[in-house]
């Protein structure tokens, strides 16, 4: 597969209020849940054992927090480009992501600032499901390259 070009998102080009490109994944099969348990070394039964999850009072097996973070990082870094740093991602999980859900990540730029020489952009980020908006809500701060950087 041919390598894509390095495409930067420059701090100067970002507008407060702009929406970043959404991402989507799903429907999430049982196989996918098992793959995530294995790939995260996370064998908490609520993530792969339907009976156990329901005994805990949950509707079905649910994706873990690290997977949700990974999805939010994919959302932010896919937009911010390979020379960005996802400085902070903070999120709260409301409704669980369960089997057969389709999850869409979205984000909007809420602020820009320069601190300690770093060009920072703040975003609201969240995960929608097919039947629930903002099942997970979060905030991100990303360091972007500046056209004024010497490097």
């Amino acid at each position: 597969m041919a390598l894509p070009p390095v495409v930067n998102t420059w701090y100067e080009d970002v507008r407060v209020g702009e929406e970043i490109p959404s991402i989507s994944i799903g429907p999430l099969s049982h196989t996918m849940f098992l793959f995530i348990a294995s790939s995260h070394h996370d064998w908490y039964p609520g993530h792969h054992d339907v009976e156990y999850a329901r005994e805990q009072g949950l509707p079905d097996i649910f994706m873990n927090a690290t997977w949700q973070h990974g999805l939010l990082q994919r959302l932010v870094c896919g937009w911010a480009g390979p020379n960005s740093i996802p400085r902070k991602i903070k999120y709260r999980m409301g409704r669980p992501v369960v089997r057969y859900d389709t999850v869409t990540g979205r984000g909007v730029v809420t602020g820009k600032r320069i601190e300690n020489g770093e060009h920072l952009v703040d975003l609201d980020v969240w995960l929608d499901k097919q039947d629930a908006e903002k099942a997970t809500t979060g905030w991100a701060t990303v360091v972007l390259p500046s056209r004024g950087d010497t490097k």
């Binding site: 390598l3 995260h40 509707p59 927090a65 990974g70 990082q73 994919r74 400085r87 902070k88």
Partner: protein
């Protein structure tokens, strides 16, 4: 000194059981850095990003990474979870139950189950293939809570992940709900 009471959940996690008062006395406690058993490697990175279907070439190509500020392939934050063991079975389990080495479970509380609720991750520099990660923790807070799954406490622990040079690469403030199994009202589907 009172006897330590341990309970193991179906996932194999071992909890130290105690009172809320005993738990509160632990707030502020910090652990020493412990080197994680596995280094960051390419297989971990690809396995992780496959699970989130992330095509970002920084995680897939050394050659692409060389054209960026990083000078090579890097790992997404989540790969730190792969530096620990699976903990489905370990030879040492043939002996007595061993406490799960995280303050979420070693702090004495009534709860014997957990669910994650909130995360705050800060990245200062990326991890790369070959890095050895050391982890330490600080118990930030314990707050009584009741949710439909049970009665328990929000426990917040901040973890520090350093590379082999001692540089802090990532901090991870995580809040889990640690609750006592069987004390909840159960899941009620939306009408």
């Amino acid at each position: 000194m009172s006897e330590v009471v341990l309970e193991t959940d179906p996932a194999g996690y071992v909890y130290r059981i105690g009172t809320e008062e005993e738990g509160m006395a632990w707030v502020g406690r910090e652990t020493e850095p412990v080197e994680q058993p596995y280094p960051i490697d390419v297989e971990h990175i690809e396995h992780f990003v496959e699970g989130i279907q992330d095509p970002n070439p920084l995680y897939w190509s050394e050659e692409f990474g060389r054209k960026t500020r990083w000078g090579g392939r890097i790992a997404p934050w989540g790969v730190i979870v792969l530096t620990g063991e699976h903990k489905v079975w370990r030879p040492e389990w043939l002996e007595s139950p061993r406490e799960t080495p995280t303050l979420f479970m070693t702090v004495p509380l009534p709860g014997n189950r957990l669910l994650a609720t909130d995360y705050e991750v800060e990245c200062f520099q990326p991890l790369r293939p070959g890095d050895r990660v050391s982890k330490s923790e600080k118990l930030v807070s314990i707050v009584p809570k009741t949710f439909r799954v049970g009665v328990g406490h929000h426990v917040t622990v901040k973890a520090f992940f350093r590379n082999q040079r001692g540089e802090v690469c990532i901090t991870d403030s995580r809040t889990i709900f640690r609750y006592k199994f069987g004390t909840g009202a159960g899941y009620k589907p939306a009408a």
